[in-house]
């Protein structure tokens, strides 16, 4: 994603290292860099999280805020479901290429990736529970992500931060009453309880997926590529895996070539194995994140 150009000998050094399973910074092919997670730092948002993945306290840095709004139903929309709207913006200060309108295409691509993973029942969220009154009102969750710094592997940082933000989200409790109107018909009305202590979590957030991005370099692949490794990548695949170790979403990154099918099935199996460890790591980090 960055415009880093490496010399042929640097590219060869990185490629051979990957093929031997020993990367330029000493990591193995399936080692992720250090992850830092913080939640609930935006007091005006219903939920928020910041995730940094990288070396020495720096790295790819993503901030996600969740805002919940009540929308009025209009004909044509699903009658008894809530909705999730994702938006990703890369800050112009994150990289030189993002200056001015340089990040526009990347913003659209990342928004679509996040949408594919989180907007809908495949994310594990119970969309029906987000409906307040069918054909009348429903919750819409705005997932707003801001990429503050880029050092390789944006998608994984985005997904980690989004998962943490949604897990930490507290919605106000809604009371639904049936009231008889002048004609004696029963109308449903809702009231949002304005009490900071009386809030509920979103149903189903514990089922949200985590993603693992695989970059093919030479004949092998690595996860969590650094900027230099991304410059040598031939093709990349992001796999979103649920806590039940099912594959929720797959996105191929727009690099130079395709994958041979044998590598593809190997990546899918590896994704499930890696995801198991990632969920354990996420749990540990999330519990100390607030």
């Amino acid at each position: 994603m960055t415009s880093l150009i490496l010399s042929p000998s640097e590219q060869d050094f990185i490629t051979r290292g990957v093929e031997k399973g020993f990367r330029a910074d000493g990591r193995g092919s399936l080692d992720r860099r250090e992850v830092t997670l913080r939640t609930n730092m935006i007091s005006q948002a219903n939920g928020s999280a910041r995730c940094r993945i990288g070396h020495l306290g720096l790295g790819t840095d993503v901030l996600v805020g969740i805002k919940a709004e009540v929308n009025t139903w209009t004909p044509g929309e699903p009658e008894s479901l809530g909705s999730i709207v994702c938006n990703v913006e890369c800050s112009p200060s994150a990289a030189q290429e993002f200056e001015g309108r340089g990040a526009e295409d990347l913003n659209v691509e990342l928004t679509q990736t996040l949408d594919r993973m989180f907007n809908g029942p495949q994310s594990g969220i119970d969309m029906a529970k987000l409906c307040i009154i069918p054909k009348q009102a429903y919750w819409v969750l705005h997932v707003d992500a801001l990429v503050l710094d880029v050092k390789g592997g944006i998608v994984d940082a985005l997904v980690w931060a989004t998962r943490a933000a949604l897990l930490s989200t507290k919605l106000p409790r809604v009371v639904v009453e049936s009231i008889a109107d002048e004609d004696g018909n029963l109308q449903s009305e809702f009231d949002v309880v304005d009490d900071a202590e009386d809030q509920v979590a979103i149903e189903g957030v514990e089922n949200l997926p985590l993603s693992v991005t695989f970059n093919q370099i030479g004949k092998r692949f690595v996860i969590d590529a650094s900027e230099q490794e991304e410059a040598v990548t031939q093709a990349s695949l992001t796999v979103a895996v649920s806590p039940q170790l099912e594959i929720c979403a797959v996105q191929k990154g727009g690099f130079l070539r395709g994958f041979p099918p044998s590598l593809l099935s190997e990546i899918m199996q590896t994704a499930r194995r890696v995801a198991r460890d990632e969920f354990a790591k996420f749990k540990e980090l999330y519990e100390t994140a607030a």
Partner: protein, 285 residues
């Protein structure tokens, strides 16, 4: 904050200032770099240390872009191939220039550069290549003019690139070091560093026809691990703002041996190792 005019020598008065701090109102002083004057008072315009030489007051900033002096040894990345020259990124305000007439031809043969050389400039250096060069002079607009007219300079191979703050690399007698672990390190004064497998000088001289080759030598697993370890040590020295010299790299390397290479880049281990290195350097001084 007035300068004590009775002070014995300027070097004993170390005053740290921030942008906007007043330095002196005494009209006898002349303003140097890093200062500005307003209503008769000299203020600092950068964050740094006040330097006073006789009547000249200036402020040397703690962090600034690499400027470039004649004779500096730098590592640069080719960004563009232009007419009879290459543009080189040297981490400065402007790209440096490497003229076609300033490079050596393969085989060490001395001849005038011909038109065919000009047409195949990419066979020497192409975009993205890393060069090890010396600053020869300045152009009229202040851009650095580089040369690689020595067998030790030229295209860099067999290793990996690390970028650090330029202030951490001081100018010294030699910038090409061979560490005891069998790794060569090129410390560019501009903050660009190359860590590579050790290749004996005799072998380089024997391969004079292949100085522009892009092929790496074969690198064994142990050599690869040492290169990664040294690169990570330099990375952590940079992050914790420790001066980068062959001594400090060797100290960091020795202190890092108990840890696997990938753990060196966790902030806790890095902090501990950096403290280790700074105390050893203090003891040595």
């Amino acid at each position: 904050m007035d300068i004590d005019t009775e002070a014995p020598a300027p070097s004993l008065v170390t005053q740290i200032v921030t942008p906007g701090s007043a330095i002196t109102s005494d009209s006898a002083y002349m303003r140097g770099h890093g200062t500005f004057g307003e209503h008769g008072t000299i203020y600092s315009s950068v964050a740094g240390v006040v330097e006073r030489i006789n009547k000249l007051v200036s402020v040397r900033s703690l962090k600034q872009r690499y400027g470039g002096e004649i004779g500096d040894i730098v590592v640069g990345r080719i960004t563009e191939v232009a007419s009879k020259r290459w543009r080189v990124d040297v981490n400065s305000r402007q790209d440096g220039m490497l003229l076609l007439s300033s490079i050596n031809l393969p085989g060490g043969i001395q001849r005038r550069k011909s038109d065919s050389d000009e047409l195949q400039m990419r066979s020497f250096f192409a975009e993205g290549d890393l060069v090890f060069a010396e600053v020869q002079s300045y152009f009229a607009d202040g851009a650095l003019s580089l040369h690689t007219r020595s067998i030790q300079y030229g295209k860099l191979r067999n290793g990996t690139f690390v970028s650090v703050f330029p202030q951490l690399v001081s100018r010294s007698r030699t910038h090409f070091h061979t560490l005891p672990c069998g790794v060569d390190v090129v410390l560019g004064v501009n903050g660009y560093i190359w860590v590579s497998k050790h290749v004996p000088v005799a072998q380089v001289e024997a391969n004079a026809e292949h100085i522009y080759s892009d092929e790496n030598e074969s690198i064994s697993d142990d050599e690869r691990e040492s290169i990664a370890r040294v690169a990570n040590c330099i990375g952590l020295l940079n992050r914790l703002y420790v001066k980068i010299t062959d001594t400090s790299i060797i100290f960091a390397f020795e202190a890092s041996l108990p840890y696997p290479v990938k753990d060196l880049l966790s902030i806790d281990v890095a902090t501990e190792l950096a403290h280790n290195v700074t105390s050893r350097l203090k003891l040595q001084a």
